[in-house]
Symmetry: C2
């Protein structure tokens, strides 16, 4: 069964980017700290990340994430998980000739429900990963988010973009598992519906 899962590195105070995220600094100024663990992965991280990548069949993201990271912004000729198909929520799709990886990116103009439906169809039973804050909050508020995988990074950023800043109301979670790795802790939750 295909689950829709947010998977993001987050500071203890809830930020997934530092301030001033641009194409030069997609995680904001100083925000690379959030991905330091990726450069220092130990066996635990490698296993957790391999499991995630093997289980993901499609990805949903907001337009901001796409604009920051596509092409030479960081993802080269792929998306955040290589050639895994990505569905980008947007009101104004880019000109097709400007899309660096047209085999990876599709643009969804009719909302999160449509994006989730298309992503699930593409994922064919695998999970749908949700990248970034906007897409996660939209999926959560639409009742379409099934799980949250947080790579909790031991830092307080103080400002930037929070993963959960526009959550409509209380959302009960169930802790599935947690595992300490390099200096982070992987936390896996199910969204209780």
């Amino acid at each position: 069964m295909s689950n829709v899962i947010s998977g993001m590195s987050m500071s203890l105070d809830g930020f997934i980017t530092a301030p001033d995220d641009t194409r030069e600094n997609p995680l904001g100024v100083g925000g690379m700290r959030l991905h330091q663990w990726v450069r220092e992965m130990n066996e635990t991280d490698t296993k957790v990340l391999d499991d995630m990548v093997q289980n993901v069949g499609a990805i949903i993201m907001g337009r901001h994430s796409y604009d920051l990271c596509e092409g030479d912004g960081g993802w080269g000729d792929g998306g955040p998980a290589g050639k895994v198909p990505c569905f980008v929520l947007t009101h104004r799709p880019p000109d097709p000739k400007d899309v660096v990886a047209p085999d990876v990116f599709s643009f969804v103009t009719d909302g999160i429900e449509s994006a989730v439906a298309q992503a699930k169809a593409t994922a064919a039973g695998k999970d749908v990963g949700v990248h970034g804050a906007t897409a996660a909050q939209q999926a959560l508020n639409a009742g379409l988010l099934d799980g949250i995988h947080t790579m909790l990074v031991p830092i307080l950023l103080g400002s930037g973009k929070r993963l959960f800043d526009h959550v409509g109301g209380p959302v009960e979670l169930r802790r599935l598992w947690s595992v300490e790795s390099s200096d982070i802790i992987h936390l896996r939750f199910e969204v209780v519906k």
Copy 2:
């Protein structure tokens, strides 16, 4: 050596109260979810909490926390840890005759540095607990916070009061340990100085 440690139950999105915290609902409307684990403690919780209580020799808090919980607000004739002395940051100390537990509460009008100094002197080598958001943020921003103990509760509250909302800038932490208990996870961090 006396360490200054914030110890709070926090939702995954960083809140330590739900909205509308009053004396009737010191944790806000729906916020008791954050302390549900206290009513359902297992052996792990009991051990962790016993260790914390045995190690704490004084507590610092903001005036808002005091106003919400003193006396019949919840703490009866004590403070958040029974008769452990509490230092309340305030610009306007209450009339002494209105203080329900004068053997527990002192009022500090000259800032966080003074509160930490007085609390450390009282703690006599034990830790100083920091209760609430205001006191934790003031201690952190003054470089006086040594550790963070988060009881991470599997819920997204969406609104309320965040533990870390006015942190001056990036603060590096070091994960000391984590342990899963009932449905929460205890996370212990050291503040890197």
